[in-house]
Every structure is written in structure tokens, then in C-alpha cells.
């Protein structure tokens, strides 16, 4: 079933910023730039032709070190993997996606630098958190392009779930 039966909207190109997520339909694309250790979570229900893309920075809102003073009131849900995934799934369901048909693709979560002060591996932890949050909702991960030491930019075609992963200097891979 398509969400729209007549007068499909013209394909749009929707930008998803850091700590944001977006939902689109049909031939519309969702794009996000500059994933380093951040993780891109691309979901799609191809039968409904609804896709969603999140650009999450950190694994969990609870992960924040004690000592960061104020709460996270008003900050975008897309910032954390564990809040971005349920919100994105819900937003897609609102647009006609069926939870049981949603498939996921993951990209990003690289380790570009080794910092002495960092406890390291935010990229790995982001990917692990995304897999866990998706498994919890029985959303299968059908393809990944994660890790490594380079950045990525993503373009998701909403209706097909096709995720184009671009590296610097134009090297592109579709998963």
C-alpha cells in the first residue's frame, strides 16, 4: 500500500542536520553530511515507500558523564541513538510505515583520531547502540558501512531504502 494514491508529491531533497532525524516518502531523498564518529541510521519500509534517516552523536542520553550540569531539556531527540531510533520509527509509522516491515542500514561510526584524553571508541559504541536499539524493536539491519578512519556523507532514497555512502573525493558506495 502506498501512503499516497493520487497526486504524489514532487521528490524533495531533505537535509538532516547533526542530532536530527527526518522522514520522507517515495522518490524523495534524505541527506546528511559529515559523519565521523556519529552514526547514520537509515530505515525504510519499501512497501509503504516511507524512509527515515537519523544523524546521532552519542549512544545514549544516560551515557553523559556525571558532572554535565543541566538536563537535556529541549535538546533534540535525534542527538542520542537510544532516543533517535524509537522516535524515528514512530515518525515513520505516522506516515504509513509498518513497524514489522522496516529494515535498517547503518553507516558512520568511524574512529578518525586517537585522543589521549578520550575514553575512545565513541564511533564503535554508537554503532553497537544502534544495533541494540534496532534489535529491541525487531528491525533487521540489512547492510552496514561502518568503522574505519574516514568520514562519510549519506543520501537515502526514502521509497527504496537505498543508501548511498560517499567518502571524501567522491568515492561512493550504495548499500
Amino acid at each position: 500500500m502506498k501512503v499516497y494514491t493520487t497526486d504524489p508529491p514532487t521528490p524533495e531533497r531533505i537535509k538532516v542536520g547533526v542530532a536530527e532525524y527526518g522522514v520522507a516518502e517515495g522518490e524523495s531523498t534524505l541527506v546528511t553530511s559529515g559523519l565521523g564518529s556519529c552514526v547514520g541510521i537509515a530505515l525504510a519500509d519499501t512497501d509503504a515507500g516511507v524512509g527515515g534517516l537519523a544523524h546521532a552523536m552519542l549512544p545514549s542520553a544516560e551515557d553523559r558523564t556525571a558532572g554535565s550540569e543541566s538536563g537535556d531539556g529541549g535538546r533534540p531527540a535525534g542527538k542520542y541513538v537510544d532516543t533517535a531510533v524509537p522516535d524515528l520509527v514512530a515518525a515513520m509509522a505516522d506516515r504509513g510505515a509498518h513497524r514489522s516491515r522496516i529494515e535498517a542500514r547503518l553507516a558512520g561510526g568511524s574512529a578518525m583520531f586517537e585522543f589521549s584524553s578520550a575514553d575512545g571508541g565513541v564511533g564503535d559504541r554508537n554503532v553497537a547502540a544502534a544495533k541494540a536499539a534496532l534489535a529491541e524493536r525487531d528491525v533487521p539491519v540489512v547492510a552496514t558501512d561502518v568503522g574505519g578512519d574516514h568520514g562519510r556523507s549519506l543520501t537515502l532514497t526514502a521509497g527504496t531504502g537505498e543508501l548511498s555512502v560517499r567518502r571524501a573525493h567522491g568515492d561512493t558506495r550504495v548499500i
Binding site: 547533526v18 553530511s33 553523559r64 535538546r75 574516514h150
Partner: protein
């Protein structure tokens, strides 16, 4: 006047919600969806603000406001691109993009967007704010811009330096608190910049409204901002000394931003350079980046007449990164009376925004807002441009500020 991080957060949230109102107003009236790409609270000098307009070749619509708070707001845009949006307001306006009808459409657009922006602030303060009729300001109209940035009948724009609000002490290097938002339409056909320059008294009113009384004197922030400017000048001198090419500091600014917006300061384009970590009070990260052509030019300048292989070029860039970072940070350590150690530079050649992303992600684990320092050093003949982004740990920088602040009487 005292400023504290809580007030800066409030300012940032206010500017963000004001900009969202402006984007909504634009979408409602023209049917073009817009999003807020960047929200910044900047501690700028007047010459910095002026330069930002000139470099981007922007025209603008100016609106004054008074009531709960006073000051000026500016909607700046590329006329050619924005004119396509005003047909919805003034049908047929884009048939003659340079005509009076188009200009009045643009003024109306400014009125609507800036009105929405100010509404967001009025809601927070719980007071009404009146706005004046919009004025359209052409390119290169320094005088009109000066009216906004410098002294005007309703008081100076957000002067932060002590004494500067007393009539004729205003200079190009005195600081103002400016709020800068960048909005873009979804299809990226048009971009808008909203600037808001409140008067000093109005800055104080908002600080008071946040109910914090443990702030640091505003001079602490301006002296840090000055220190950043000096660091940029030193880095520029060092670059010149190394390459033998004259360089100038094009941009040097201190801003306070939601941390997730930092990578969006950069684009998808490839950048080459180095990333370093600094430790001490404060600790943090620094990225020294060149566009690919600039990187080549810098490497050539360091090794004149040598047919250098990629490895040699890479180590030349690393060396430059080292020198520029030292020049940039040494002044901080002196002023803050502390030691700042610098790590070995890591060479990077990647998507610009992705280079900054891991630095931001590290800091985001303990902070929601960031002090972002960004500088651009360029050669007058455009041989190369060097961008510097520094991200000190917010709490450590704040404690460094506290040490810097004069003892309360």
C-alpha cells in the same frame, strides 16, 4: 555587567526559537519550507560584523525594535536568489528582479521574518516589543550598516567594552554581542542570515531575566575574545614567516553555540590539514584546515623548487599545523597564566564537517554548548586560506575565566 554560561544558553535558545519562528513565517507566507542551519551568539567587533556582510555580497532589510528590549535586527540575503521567494507575497515581483515591486516584496519578507524572530524573544520576556518599518539596504552601503552597528539615536548596539558606551569611545575593535542565525530553504535556493544587535542595556535585561547572579564580568569574555584575535595574528605572522607569503587574519571570532551545530559550520567539501589535542586549563581540540588547492600552495611555498612526493607534502602540512597551533595557543597560556600542552598533529584529508565531528562528539559527552573559536588566515592574493577551529572544554574554559576575572569588591 556580568554574563554567565546560563545566560549564554538562554541567549542561544532564544535566538534559536526566534529563528524557528522566522522560518515558520517564511514557510506560511511563501510556501517555501526553511530550516535553521546555524544559531550563534557571537562576541564580535564591529569590523568583523561589517566584513561578514561585505564578503558575502549581501543586501539586507533592517528593522529596529523597542519596548521590552531595544536594538536592531537585520535580515541579510543574496537578492537574486531571495527574489524568487517573494512572488508569493507580491505576485509578479520576480518578473523584474531589480524593480521596485521586488524591493517592496523583499521588505515585506523582512518584516514578516524579523517580526517572527522578535516575537520569540518577546514571548520569553513576557513583554511586548514594537518593531519599526523595514529599511532596505543596498550592497556597499557602509553608512547604513554603520547606523545599525555603531551609534544611533536609540543607543549603541550592545557595547560590551567598559566605557565604550560613552559617546565617542566606539572603535572598530570594541566588542558587541551579536546573535547570528543562518536559515536555508529546503531546496537550498535561498539562504538568509538574521543578525540581532541588542543595546547593552537590553543585554543586561535578558541576563537579569535569567535570574543568575554568579556570572563573570563581561570584560572577561571580551578580553578572551581579544586574546583569540591576538592568537590569530600570531598564527598569521608565523605562517608568513614560514611560507614567505604575506597573510592577514580575515576572521577571528568567539561564539557560543549548541554543540551539535559545530560540524555544520563546515561543508561536505574535502579539507586537508591537521587535528591536535591540547591539554591544560583549558584542554580541547583544534583543527587547522586548508582547501585542497590551498594545501598544495602551502606545501609548494614551504618547499620551493622541490618536486615533493605526497609524503613530503603531508609532513609539510603537519609542520605548518604545528606552528600555527603554537602561535594560536601560546597567547592563551600567557594570558590565562597556565600551561597548555599540544599533542602531535594528526594529518587528515577528509570531508570538512566529518573532520570536526569526532572532536565535537568527544566534548558532547560532557557539554551541550560549546565555545567555538574560528579564524581564517588568508593571503591577499588568494594563494591560500587557512581555517582554524578551536574547541576548548567549556567547563575548563569557564574555570580559566574565573581565574582571569578580577576579584569581586
Amino acid at each position: 555587567m556580568n554574563l554567565d554560561v546560563e545566560s549564554l544558553r538562554t541567549f542561544s535558545d532564544l535566538a534559536q526559537s526566534g529563528a524557528e519562528e522566522a522560518a515558520d513565517s517564511l514557510a506560511t507566507l511563501t510556501g517555501f519550507d526553511a530550516r535553521v542551519a546555524v544559531t550563534k551568539v557571537e562576541m564580535s567587533t564591529r569590523s568583523d560584523v561589517r566584513r561578514q556582510f561585505r564578503e558575502r555580497d549581501l543586501v539586507s532589510v533592517h528593522i529596529g525594535f523597542s519596548g521590552g528590549i531595544e536594538g536592531r535586527t537585520i535580515l541579510a540575503f543574496d537578492r537574486e536568489r531571495a527574489v524568487s521567494l517573494v512572488d508569493a507575497l507580491v505576485p509578479g515581483a520576480s518578473d523584474d528582479p531589480d524593480g521596485d515591486l521586488a524591493t517592496s516584496g523583499l521588505k515585506e519578507l523582512g518584516n514578516i521574518m524579523l517580526g517572527g524572530f522578535i516575537d520569540g524573544w518577546a514571548d520569553f520576556l513576557g513583554e511586548s516589543i514594537d518593531i519599526t518599518t523595514p529599511t532596505y539596504v543596498e550592497l556597499d552601503s557602509d553608512r547604513s550598516l554603520e547606523d545599525v552597528i555603531a551609534a544611533s539615536g536609540d543607543g549603541p548596539a550592545g557595547e560590551l567594552d567598559p566605557g565604550a558606551s560613552l559617546t565617542d569611545h566606539r572603535t572598530d575593535t570594541s566588542h558587541i554581542l551579536a546573535f547570528r542565525n543562518q536559515l536555508e530553504t529546503v531546496d537550498e535556493e535561498a539562504g538568509f542570515y538574521i543578525y540581532m544587535l541588542p543595546t547593552r542595556g537590553s543585554v543586561q535585561r535578558i541576563v537579569d531575566a535569567t535570574g543568575q547572579d554568579d556570572g563573570l564580568p563581561v570584560e572577561t569574555f571580551t578580553s578572551f575574545s581579544r586574546m583569540v584575535t591576538e592568537g590569530s595574528a600570531q598564527a598569521s605572522e608565523d605562517l608568513t614567516a614560514m611560507t614567505g607569503i604575506d597573510t592577514n587574519v580575515d576572521v577571528s571570532r568567539l561564539s557560543f553555540v549548541p554543540i551539535e551545530s559545530v560540524p555544520m559550520q563546515l561543508t561536505d567539501e574535502a579539507r586537508r590539514g591537521v587535528v591536535l589535542e591540547f591539554t591544560g586549563t583549558p584542554s580541547g581540540y583544534i583543527a587547522i584546515l586548508f582547501d585542497p588547492e590551498s594545501a598544495e600552495s602551502v606545501a609548494d611555498a614551504l618547499m620551493p623548487g622541490i618536486d615533493a612526493d605526497p609524503a613530503m607534502r603531508q609532513s609539510a602540512i603537519q609542520e605548518i599545523g604545528n606552528i600555527v597551533t603554537s602561535g594560536f595557543l601560546d597567547g592563551w597560556a600567557n594570558t590565562l597564566e597556565t600551561t597548555i600542552d599540544i599533542s602531535t598533529p594528526t594529518y587528515v584529508d577528509d570531508i570538512g564537517s566529518a573532520i570536526v565531528d569526532p572532536l565535537v562528539t568527544e566534548l558532547a559527552q560532557t557539554q551541550e554548548y560549546a565555545f567555538l573559536i574560528d579564524s581564517a588566515i588568508a593571503t591577499p592574493d588568494e594563494t591560500f586560506t587557512c581555517d582554524i577551529y578551536a574547541l576548548p572544554d567549556e567547563r575548563e574554559l569557564r574555570s580559566a575565566f574565573e581565574q582571569l576575572a578580577p576579584e569581586p569588591n
